[in-house]
């Protein structure tokens, strides 16, 4: 099973703004942990800080027994962390194939793993040699996630993967995330769609104003409407 992720008193400043104000939480190894919260709560900043794209000004981040804080993003990635950002950040001028070749840092593309990925995202096979910039928004999201998992990873950081996607694609994505989890990968997933969170999440951490204000099992939060309302300002029913 993959290593667990721990954040201990993490602070992040961006310019003069103090975004993360002592974030403490853990992500159990081999489980999918949802990071929820209102817009501006600090979820994306948390992922970027773990990834080393923004430097933590204080606190400790560890993947298993390896400290991540202070490392460059390339070194964090080399410890087995895959990242699919909210912006997708696919390379538009490169083909689908070339995007995935870059995702496979440690060697050539593995045909078996590609077939496994194409099982979830057949469009990527169809547009294999097309320019990634010509894909639709949903296809770009598929490519972003495929690039993050084209090689086995210890930890996956995925930021709002269902944003703007059609329901059918969201279904494939949920299936994909479940299968990735079944391989023992630790996943930290930022998601605004509460139904998706309920379907794929084992654990949940809720953020507000740069701090974690709730830690627990996802099914318990899903069952407690008043807690949802208090933490997120929503209830599952309102999303049905």
């Amino acid at each position: 099973m993959s290593a667990s992720l721990t954040l201990d008193g993490v602070h992040t400043h961006i310019g003069r703004y103090h975004i993360l104000q002592g974030v403490d939480f853990d992500v159990p190894g081999g489980r999918t942990t949802m990071l929820l919260g209102r817009n501006g709560a600090g979820k994306t900043t948390t992922l970027r800080t773990i990834m080393g794209l923004w430097r933590a000004s204080k606190g400790r981040i560890a993947l298993g027994d390896k400290a991540l804080q202070g490392l460059a993003a390339s070194d964090v990635a080399r410890l087995g962390v895959g990242y699919a950002p909210e912006t997708m950040a696919i390379f538009s001028d490169l083909t689908v194939r070339e995007n995935l070749v870059l995702g496979a840092r440690d060697g050539p593309l593995d045909d078996k793993r590609l077939d496994w990925i194409f099982g979830f995202f057949p469009a990527l096979k169809r547009f294999w040699l097309s320019r990634a910039g010509s894909l639709s928004g949903g296809q770009k999201q598929m490519l972003s996630i495929a690039r993050a998992i084209v090689e086995p990873r210890e930890l996956l950081l995925i930021d709002e993967p269902t944003k703007g996607l059609a329901p059918a694609i969201v279904g494939s994505l949920i299936e994909c995330l479940r299968e990735i989890k079944a391989t023992g990968v630790t996943i930290l997933l930022v998601e605004q769609n509460f139904r998706v969170a309920v379907e794929v999440g084992d654990e949940v951490r809720v953020m507000d104003n740069g701090r974690v204000v709730h830690r627990g099992a996802m099914n318990l939060l899903a069952a407690d409407e008043s807690l949802q309302n208090r933490l997120l300002g929503l209830s599952l029913d309102s999303h049905q």
Partner: protein, 336 residues
Amino acid sequence: MSATGFGAALPRRRIEILPAMTPVIVALVAAPFVGSASTFVTLTAAGLAMGMMIFTMASGLTLVFGMMDVLNFGHGAFIALGAYVATLVFLPLAGWSASDSVALNLAVFLLAIVAAALVCGALGWVFERLIVKPVYGQHLRQILATIGGSIIAEQLMYAFWGPDQIPLSVPKTLEGSFVFGEAAIEKYRVLATLVGLVVFAGEMLILNRTKIGLLIRAGVENREMVEALGYRIDRLFIGVFMAGSALAGLGGAMMALYRGQVHATIGGEFLVLCFIVIIIGGLGSVGGSFVASILVALIANYAGFLAPKLALVSNILAMVVVLLWRPRGLYPVSGR
């Protein structure tokens, strides 16, 4: 199924043809005005040779700007340095250059351009570490620092080589022209065109067929994501900067031989042209720079023949027209 075999019957990436055809269109438009076929051939061949030399100098600049987001006004210093390094090879080996042996003639030429590229590449590393690295991400400071660096470099060149022009002749084999009917094409221009084509083919091969090339293309678009995939972008930056400086040196040496003399001002003179070319081509696009170099050189040659006064501003006019048509250049790079 092989990982690389999926694409056989699948849609491929399309490349726009029209921007690449602009030099051909310009030539076809100019041909009736030039009138004489032999003059047209001579002007076109000269334009191609000039275009290839400009491309060699500009392609490094477009990669440095595209990938590193660095406005390197010091690029001209490497053009001048490459020209001076060529003299260091040509002057002591004047016997080889004047010899009747084609092998010795070509050897001194190859030695000169390789030395120019190597010296400029190595000094590019020093320039990047000392001048550019402290000002990454700060455009105004980059302009000030790289202009300052180029002034220092220029003064150092004056200190080493003196303020006077140094004459430089092409090897004996490359003197004279090939004559086709009434058209004469200088031998050196043919060689310059071939060298430019080899440089272009090499760059395209590296950019499109190697992982380093993929990383450079990806880095031009989104440096942060390249790093998040586990690649050390800083090492790639240094490599690209050294390669860009080496290409500037190579182009400078070629241009000095073409002009028959070397002076430190050659750098500043061609730096402006390099910026025009990379803007017309699309910032960060090597293919765009290739097309733009030929376009700019052909327009300058035809304008110089048909309306000499217009030739002074032909490059700027070409840039204005292209940007009105395609505001991000002939082959814009996504994300820039």
